[in-house]
Amino acid sequence: MSIQDPNVLIDCRGLQVGYDGVAMLPPIEVDVHRGVFCVVVGRNGSGKSTWFKTVLGLIPPVSGQVMHAPGLKVAYIPQRLHYDPIYPLTAINVVRMGALNGFNFWGSSGLDYDELKLAMDAVDVWKLRDQSFRSLSEGQKQRVLFARALVSRPEVAFMDEPTSAMDVVAEREMLSLVDRVRRDRKMAVVMVTHELSVAAEYAEQVIFVDRTSRTVLAGTPREVLGHEQFARLYGQEKAHELLVELDHFQRRKAGGPHT
């Protein structure tokens, strides 16, 4: 079976995720559309990273299917834990890795210098190109990894908790940057986070997973944040607060009056 709709990049049908054949969550039916900002939320250990890695092909599904559009270009920005900071790499060394795919790592990178500069300029890290990657702040490291993802001109970028080690200011800057670049490049973003406010402020599609209650909700931010199961888990007050935030951001995006 293949994806028929040219606007659909990833199609999960009856997808069950887990380890060693044991499903953590009920089956999920989700499409990721071209250019969408999709946020995957849930508590720590809720199964959101497992879902994310299954969709990326890093973990086999327990059952169901994950279909990618033919020739889909995927980029991945890992969590802080998944790369080793002791490597003596400069920022530009790290960004160059984004051009490698399949077996094309023989000899020279074949990466155009202008292309490299374009990707690094897009996230404002060109000036850091010769700095040691390990000496950068967490925010700068995530920007460099984002530039690495952009080098391959992906149609969808998967980001695993990209702001987890950042302070509030760096976090806001990073999220605004991701949103701006996503719009400029018409690229879909699938971001895992435990920050519910990200879903209210940036998301066009939200996937909420909770392993304990075996809940999976997928839909628009209003559908998910306003769902009774979501309110039951996080409390009516928190759910209401998020819906108010959502209204505020949607009015702002539409150019309406601020509250």
């Binding site: 990326l56 890093l58 003596p88 490698l100 790592f105």
Partner: protein, 289 residues
Amino acid sequence: MNPAETPTPTLQEFLDSWDLFRDPVITGMLAGVLLGYLGVYIVLRRTVFVSAAVSQASALGVSLVFLLDMYEWIPHALAEPVAGALVCALLAMGFFTFNPERMRLTREGLLGLGYLFGSAGAVMAGDRITQEAHDIQAVLFGPGVVVRELDFHLTIVTTVLLMGAHLLLKRGLVFTSFDEESARVQGLPVRALNLFLFLSIGVAVAVTTHAIGALSVFAFSVLPAMTALALSGRMNVVFILAPLLGMVAGGGGYLFAFFLRFPVGGSQTFLACVMCGLAMASAVIRRRT
């Protein structure tokens, strides 16, 4: 006579006997180049004790070949110590690729087991071997002044082939070592690259263990890379410096041993330690200033 009481050899004596010393000096230098380069991955991947354990497994392989030959369990023509070293090194590398978490153990635990099994086996097998005891000692602690012609040629061929392959695959190997998950997402053949890296370390360690001894092999696969990492924060510079430093330790250690009448393996290791210590001191001073 106590070595300290004999007159110190002169440079002229060394040069006069160059035909005798040429092969071991070049072998030590090539082993330093190859293991110094591979050591960058060994140190960065935090698998320092892999080379120690594999070199002990190689030593066990050498001892077993002598033992099997002594009891005539294998034809004498097939009793090649390097082949034994290679088989045991590859078996050890295969053992270390097991996922230790499935046995509720850690990677360090597996390495410790491999190291101890190799060491104990080599010592026990060595105890039963009377005729080749000198060769066993050489494998464990470094050879005397000579290197077998076969070891010399094997070291040259192994160094050229493995260095060539590593230079070709360098970008893929660095990416896979640095960020394996992203490399997998980008479709790199991560499993094949990891297998190649482990096999190349196994082969390099097995071949050089018989030529220069387990002590020098462990030293060259760790210390030059550590020295280079302390001296430079640039990956490309580290990949040039580490083999150069390995070469200096291999050749310089031999000269050190000749002029000061020390064992070769200990001298090569000592020189590599001194260089590493100086580089670490310089890194500390640079950070403070």
